[in-house]
Symmetry: C2
Subunit: 216 residues, 2 copies
Amino acid sequence: MQTHFEQELAELKNKLLTMASHAETSVTNAIKALIDRDDELAQKVDADDAIIDHLEMEIDEMAIRLLAKAPLASDLRLITVAMKISQNLERVGDEATKIARRVQDLNQEPQLKPYVDLPNMAKIALQMLKTALDSFVNRQPDTAREIIPRDKEVDLLNKQLHRELASYMIEKPSTITRCLNLMIISKSLERIADHATNVAEEVVYLCEARDIRHGG
Amino acid sequence: MQTHFEQELAELKNKLLTMASHAETSVTNAIKALIDRDDELAQKVDADDAIIDHLEMEIDEMAIRLLAKAPLASDLRLITVAMKISQNLERVGDEATKIARRVQDLNQEPQLKPYVDLPNMAKIALQMLKTALDSFVNRQPDTAREIIPRDKEVDLLNKQLHRELASYMIEKPSTITRCLNLMIISKSLERIADHATNVAEEVVYLCEARDIRHGG
């Protein structure tokens, strides 16, 4: 039978998964709004950010309450890791909002060209985030470790796209505003991959009590 | 007489202040490197980031150890706040590094024009960060609260500069690469102000046990 403390800990984890699902949906919607040129969906992403923000505050509150009762060092680790994951998810939500705002700007001008790289970057970043969360739920440090090198892949795609857009701007100065908006979206996706990497590093720390951040 | 726990808590706070001082120096150096077109100083900022990263890991380790012994709810709050401040400082260090890398890029071309807005933004952001840390040390939630509206000031400066640089790029496409680098620096300074704001919000939470993030 679960103790009351264990029940509360399970509740904390559930809330974190709810938050993750909201954050993932917002990123998916933001990119869908980009491709479909859908202002309404972009506005929804913006509005939904309040839900994610609220979940972060609830998780922090629960976490602090639970820290006071945590009997084991491993529980302390789990709770602080939950707080850190929640902070990363909150930032994923912020990035989704940033993308959604750029989309609304982009929708005021004709589309520059079909989007290939951005949906691809989004797909990788979301996959990283999803796998990182799964590795948290199932306590799989090896799965978490596998995510980390993918961050470089997304970094590279962002750099390539940045360079491509910069050349485009030089050739056709009339596209500058649109190119800048696309650069910001690309950068946001790169940051979402960073957050997924942070989550993965926290999972390794949780499972192995070893800090692998900063090449440690 | 201080208990052993209190001594350790004081040590945690000292380490945090050391970290803050490194982060502030790195931002100051990054902007100095921009103005003086000093590649060597920019490289130093990049190298010094490892010190900041290492301090973050040390603080987290101390914090988790202390959480296990914290006798009071207020200690738990202090320790989790210290962890969050440390995370923000680590990101300030990252932004300084980002600025330093852009500076090295900018140094390969003639200077576009004298820098006025960027040093001004840096000054405000650093002042915010310093005041936020002081309000933490002296437990002054009112001082911390006063910082928060200044974030909008830096946001506005960043938006203005972004717009100005975008127009400049349209007029003179040969300046595009330099303008992009300056935009990235401006964005980094805006983020440093965000981190200072986060620290201030944590101080209010610490002193008043009230979460004022997200307009709460």
